[in-house]
Subunit: 506 residues, 2 copies
């Protein structure tokens, strides 16, 4: 793998001078084009110690407009990061549209060094690499350019540089892994080779750079970046031209999407909406469930078990009311309710999952999403806000996201509150006539109501593709609010009990 | 202080029913008006244990539109928070324009409980309360509504409730302070009384609530919130009407601001711009300084000493180049460069200092701001982006902000890079003719150049008001780029040496 990278190729100063004048301009132009097209770029700079990773990063800031670039490293994990699914710390630092993130060591450095030092077993390492591939695939699919470098030198050269640095007291390490791996060339190269093999994909390729000569190294790095960005820009422009060429006649009646027949029988039709809760039992049962939740959530907090709850369902199905009954039973200090509506411009500039990753709970805490990432395959699909290829791909991405949450130990509960069309109408009217509920009913609600068929179809496909054994949807008959609220609390209580070990709760 | 709060007043159920119907609507309307006017609201809910602080917070979410409300608590300090100036964790959670932040315990809970348990001495407590006053003053001055509650019950009632809760195993504590203070009524009340006395200001007043009866408590809290928001909304509307009444004739020639005479002699005129660096010395000296910085910043990192550097100065004065020479000497893993240009919409929705607090470095790290919070009294003043009263107030706010950084142990270095008008013109032309520098020169630069007089005046006042002994401005003669760069590095090196203990560096 590294054969061609230890040839020790060089670039003479004069040639470098000429080349760098040309390349600098092209690199700069590429950055400007990426910005204009709104393409986010991730550049990962890894390599053997002493190959000038820092120098490369500085060069990039110098040759491009530093204003669009942010440098990152992941060697200092904070407790806010440690207490969340591993990828959270990558997500929070991803570049937005038109921005560039340069990552020293990328999301590989730590794993490679740990594997090299024997702190990570082969299986765990391979699994992690697989997750990285998936992660990068999710990003690349949204249009992110991902460029990964491994700066390489021969063992002999490495030894020489290490000696130099030690003598000049120039070797600064931040973690014990750094120190060990710096001295263990063979181990490091083996680990890096394994990582590169497992994660070298066409949408996030590795480039191995012969780094013995700084000038040759710089030229190689810059050329690769230029090529990758120029390619992405061309593609983006071609797509745009194509999209403009086939403009849609918006006045034409909308054909059934994909030419598929309209829904005849939906999963929601099977829901028994006649279920109710006897009013005389409600108060008592609610109190009991809230008491249970209070106790269980404290215990989960102490054990560091976090919960992610999400609510979807028809407008006026009672999501807000159910959430308030939930939170009334739980200490406000460990709960956050995140209402999902239109994204902010910072959120819009990022991958669509970024704004959900932002609020992923720390260990022991609870995040309740009022509407969620499923907007991608519901409203965004129905309203044509997202291209078909993108929302079709989303099912896998959402399952994957949820697997990350659960993999970190999160309790995940997904609710769909279901009501009939008639009941919805009744509640709309009620809202219109109750002064403090008027704000809850807008023209948009009426418009959405007209699209019930389309939403039904979208929901059906969503249940089919994302109600998995690990993360099932709970479809709650919500025609009777009281019944629905108790169900919601009950399901979360059961999930907590299960996570805390069945039977412990008396 | 608490006399009237232990009267045990109650509100009969029927009266509550009637009142709550009216108040609920008014509260909701107040929230909507605050949103429409872009007023951020902070509600702090503290009190004796067992007074229903959580219940109050839940009530507020129920009576208002939960979508604009976020609940927070500060009892779990993460290491990301611990490693930054204390206020950072408040800033990161402040509501934006039109939003509402409800803080359980506010920014008082922890201090009150620590003081109550003897973990904080009187002097430290008083000083902290003074800082809180200043903090709230900064927020209130920007138009934030701050409402602080202390829910109170008598000692007898407290004892009774404590017993109830202990018997029902309903007492959950997160910190040892909670446990102690729950049992130490007298100490808690004494501490709270001291806090309230020291921080009860007209722009952030306390309301002590007789909380023995939940209904009475709710009504009192809601009424206070309504009054505070309605008042703020009225004021805002009045201001707006006033502003509209005296519309400015934009076609009239702009009078010298405040009617003051134009600058005759500026502090910058005294700068000796003839200073240069002999080219033959530059490389060697730069290398040496970078080596020193490399070593010193590693040592600072290990000691947890962080640095905040900021660069201001004329367009084309060489800020970017100086910053690149700085960062070239420092490990990219501990450095962040934050270019300050137009704020994002999330930033715009917050207090103008929020976007700087966002990037305050963790212990041991370095943040370099390329342009800074001084934009408030430079570009925002010159371009009339901010009302005079606001930028005039900013000097004190900026000094205060910097005192917070330094108080936490940050090294703070403020650079102004100075060049003559002629040299600026020469560089503008050079930029226009150098392909990879063209992006650096825009119409805006030319426009700014025409306003040199106004900037000069603003800079002069800025130096006069914010070049303090603790946080002086370093005005760097930058006519010769090389000289300026070496100066910049030298000043930071000296600051590091001083912070690390002079003489340690050989």
């Amino acid at each position: 793998m590294f054969e061609s990278a230890v040839l020790g190729r060089t670039c003479p100063p004069q040639e470098y001078e000429t080349l760098s004048n040309t390349l600098r301009l092209r690199l700069f132009k590429a950055q400007r084009d990426a910005r204009a097209c709104g393409i986010p770029v991730v550049i990962s700079v890894g390599g053997v110690d002493g190959t000038g990773r820092g120098a490369v990063i500085n060069l990039l800031s110098e040759w491009m407009d530093a204003k669009g670039i942010r440098n990152h490293t992941f060697w200092t994990e904070t407790d806010e990061e440690r207490n969340r699914p591993e990828e959270w710390r990558f997500w929070r630092r991803l570049p937005g549209a038109g921005e560039m993130g340069i990552f020293l060591g990328g999301w590989y450095g730590e794993a490679i060094r740990k594997f090299c030092c024997g702190e990570m077993k082969t299986n765990a390492f391979d699994l992690l690499m697989q997750r990285r591939t998936q992660f990068e695939h999710t990003l690349a699919a949204s249009g992110m350019v991902i460029i990964k470098f491994w700066l390489h030198i021969s063992e002999k050269e490495h030894k020489k540089r290490l000696k130099d640095r030690l003598e000049n007291r120039k070797l600064h390490h931040f973690t014990p892994y750094d120190r060990e791996s710096a001295k263990n060339y063979a181990g490091l190269v083996k680990a890096a080779g394994r990582a590169i093999t497992l994660t070298d994909r066409v949408d996030a390729p590795w480039t191995i750079v012969d780094a013995v000569d700084a000038r040759f190294r710089n030229i190689a790095v810059v050329r690769t970046i230029i090529a990758a960005i120029e390619h992405a820009v061309e593609q983006k422009k071609a797509e745009k031209a194509k999209a403009e060429a086939k403009t849609v006649d918006v006045t034409a009646p909308v054909a059934a999407e994909d030419g598929a027949p309209t829904v005849e029988m939906s999963a929601l039709d099977a829901v028994d909406l006649s279920r109710t809760c006897p009013p005389e039992l409600y108060k008592k049962e609610l109190k009991k469930l809230q008491d249970d939740l209070s106790d269980l959530t404290y215990r989960a907090y102490r054990k560091g078990i976090s919960s992610t709850l999400l609510f979807e369902g028809w407008d006026a199905a009672g999501k807000g009311g159910a959430i308030r009954r939930l939170t009334a039973g739980i200490d406000a200090r460990i709960t956050r309710v995140i209402p999902i509506s239109a994204p902010s411009d910072e959120e819009l500039a990022h991958h669509y999952l970024w704004r959900f990753w932002r609020h992923v709970p720390m260990d022991g805490f609870i995040t309740i999403y009022d509407r969620s990432w499923y907007g991608r395959v519901l409203v965004e699909r129905v309203e044509n806000l997202t291209a078909q290829a993108d929302w079709k791909r989303a099912y896998a991405e959402l399952n994957d996201f949820e697997a990350r949450l659960q993999g970190h130990g999160n309790i995940l509960v997904k609710y769909w509150l279901h009501i009939s069309s008639e009941e919805q109408l009744r509640r709309f009217h009620e809202r219109e006539s109750t002064p403090w509920k008027q704000y809850k009913i807008t023209q948009e609600d009426w418009r959405n109501r007209e699209k019930r068929e389309a939403y039904l179809k979208a929901a059906d496909e969503m249940f089919a593709r994302t109600s998995t054994e690990q993360a099932p949807w709970h479809i709650i008959p919500a025609e009777d609010k009281k019944f629905a609220r108790l169900e919601v609390l009950r399901i979360y209580r059961d999930a907590l009990e299960k996570a805390l070990g069945r039977g412990r709760h008396s």
